[in-house]
Amino acid sequence: MKKIGILIIALLMFSTAVFAAGQKEASPAASETAMADDAYAAVRGKVVTMAGPFVDNDAIKFEQSVKSFEEMTGIDIQYEGSKEFEASIGISIEGGNAPDIVDFPQPGLLNNFVAKGYVIDLNKVLDMEKVKSNYIQSWLDMATMESPDGPIMAGLWGRVNGKSLVWYNKKEFDAAGYKVPTTWAELVSLQKMIISDGDSPWAVGIESGAATGWAATDWVEEMMLRTTSLENYDKWVSGELKFDSPEVRGAIETMASIWFADGMVYGGRKGIATTSFGDAPKVMFEKPPKAWLHKQGNFITSFFPDNLKAGEDYDFFYLPSVDPQYGKPVLVAGDIYAMFNDRPEVRMVMQYFATGASVEGWVKAGGAISPHKDSQLSWYTNIVDRKVAEVIQNATSVRFDGSDLMPGQVGAGSFWKEMTDYVSGTKTLDQAVKAIDASWPE
């Protein structure tokens, strides 16, 4: 009995101590009001949470990029990156625990949440005049999505990537006397020349763990842009044009004419399916190079071997159009920032993301392209990034990565999976396109 009494007293004392400590913690707001003359006084010390797929290097570059904004306003942007972002974000949003801002690399995924009514319409909370004047129309169109209450401005574009780029080992390429092709015919003759010199022209890999196949869908999108009209591309992305149509089949077959041809790809057809997309370009930098060309977005340079210099050791050219009547289309991808909680400090951060300043640091650090009109080419410190920005600016048309726009079960599901099965030879083209069409949600 005595022991129990002591225990109770101890517990009581402890809990009051904690109570007191807790209350002290809870009232630091008093000091904030003292700085009334500060323009950002109302938001100083506030926290804005963000979630997205940036990890490792990307996370650091992002944090550095927003640092000056954080110092100026006193808002603390807490970014939580995850490699399993696509899976985890649904849990937190549908669990009622959404971060203030979510960074989606796939607009199709954002579209799911817009359709369920979770996303805040930026038209209602931001100064849209400023936002609209800073993007070209197609970016704004791509951010407009259908919510239960009609179309809304669902997000803002941050960092973007150019995809229609063919990378090569510049030193060896020049030494071998090869010329950068500017037309499809020149590309074809370059391929022939490389084969006759005893090497494989292309390095291709589509293995990516559970996401295996996405690199193949990029190729199909490039070929869609180069073998048929933009209207057909848009119809295809929205599901009006079937995969089992002559246009889409034609695009896939154009890709296959390169991928499956004898000696054209390092490792052959089955090697494509089993080679990781990040490892694929590495053979270009072996001595002597085992393959010469690699088509991939500008992010791929972070998978290149260390100590290579942009513009000296490697360079890229624009993948020429197959049929000149379709102009110079460029395939792009990027991150779209959507807002899930409406507070003054969150609005302020979102408004900031609509300006080039929000990616300036990242652009200067390399590996990011700014879609904002107020950003400057002089920010691009390495010549390759600047060239990518120029390619995007010079494009006659820009289209977003189609698989990222399609509904999740196609864009991140059957499209990846069936292309993988087609490339590995498990399925015929006929079976693959029919299976993709069958998976399209009604």
Partner: protein, 360 residues
């Protein structure tokens, strides 16, 4: 009347204790709510408050239970100690199951009733049929390989000089996670392709080419790739089967074996007539455990092939539907099917336990 109240505790003290506990619980929770921006303090406080209040809660409830009249005291004490666990179990297992059941009749967003559409998908979609077939392969071959090799090693190594070394070696892979094993075995099966300038780095291809064979893309070989994945589970789980079975074998009284030998039985007869029947309940337990493993198998397939090339399994398809495609209806239907398939195995397992009077 006065007899009913235990002499140790008088009522007013009890009431005060209950109120105090209530205060600590609610007050602590309120403080936690206000500490959102001080994560470190919040964590420390949550740990201390959480542990402290659980201890306090048990102490007080036990005191209350003990003050009950004699007739219901034992029931009251049982409720105090098992009750919270049962409530938690209900909250964390039964409610989610019921929710999944409801979602399995709803559309992709969890609204709207679609009757049996999701189940129609779960039983007729080609991808699901492929998954069923593969899960069956895992159940039949994965489980039987594990048990048979585990049993053989346990019997053969029994009482041999190097028993400990053998068993440690076989048991070691148990320490590796399924994901880790997948990454390791990816190198075993690695394939670099055909053509000019290719160097193979995979162990299996190195063996095959050393014997004059041709390098293969192992994970792309239809149907066989399933068996190559099953081998990984066998590699991981044989140790588990072996250890349990080995201890059961050691539990066989020496007199029985000696008596059999005196009667002229040879090793094989002893194995089939004495060892196997004697350890049968253990074999059943191990088998059902591994069977459940192979039914819910996910990690190896996810890491090695992502379900491509005809190696998909139900758990992977469930994950894809729920988290990648955002279709909670179809995902829930798969989860319910998986649950229904596992129930007989679990029930049999429980029955075995009961027969052995473990759970009585």
């Amino acid at each position: 009347m006065s007899q009913r109240i235990d002499s140790k505790w008088n009522r007013s003290v009890l009431v005060a204790l209950v109120l105090l506990t209530f205060g600590v619980l609610v007050g602590g929770f309120a403080i936690l709510q206000n500490m959102q921006s001080y994560k470190v303090f919040m964590t420390i406080f949550a740990v201390i408050w959480g542990l402290g209040s659980v201890a306090l809660l048990y102490f007080v409830l036990n005191a209350v239970a003990e003050s009950m009249p004699h007739k219901i005291r034992s029931t009251a004490v049982a409720v105090v100690f098992a009750g919270p666990a049962v409530v938690m179990l209900f909250w964390a297992l039964v409610i989610p199951t019921l929710r999944s059941l409801r979602l399995s009749f709803a559309d992709a967003n969890g609204n709207g009733f679609v009757s049996f559409d999701n189940y129609k998908f779960a039983f007729t979609d080609p991808i699901m049929i492929e998954s069923f077939r593969n899960n069956l392969l895992w159940m039949v071959f994965g489980t039987s390989f594990c048990i048979i090799t585990g049993l053989l090693i346990a019997v053969l190594a029994d009482k041999s000089k190097a028993e400990k070394i053998f068993k440690s070696l076989i048991f070691m892979p148990m320490a590796i996670s399924f994901v880790g094993a997948g990454v390791i075995w990816k190198f075993m099966y690695a394939y670099k392709g055909e053509g000019i300038n290719i160097t193979e780095i995979g162990l299996l291809n190195a063996i095959v080419t050393a014997f004059g064979g041709e390098a293969q893309a192992w994970l792309l070989l239809p149907v066989w790739n399933n068996f190559l994945l099953i081998i990984i589970m066998v590699w991981l789980q044989t140790g588990y089967a072996m250890v349990i079975l080995s201890s059961a074998i050691k539990g066989i009284p020496d007199e029985i074996n000696e008596a059999a030998r005196v009667d002229g039985a040879n090793g094989l007869t002893i194995f089939f007539r004495i060892t196997i029947p004697y350890i049968m309940p253990t074999i059943v337990t191990v088998t059902t455990t591994i069977l459940i493993f192979s039914l819910k198998l996910f990690d190896i397939v996810r890491v090695m092939t992502g379900g491509n090339y005809g190696t998909n399994v139900m758990a992977n398809e469930f994950y894809l539907r729920q988290f990648t495609y955002g279709n909670s209806g179809e995902a829930s239907a798969i989860a319910i099917v998986l649950l229904v398939v596992i129930i007989p195995v679990l029930a049999y397992n429980l029955k075995q336990f009961r027969d052995r009077k473990v759970l009585k």
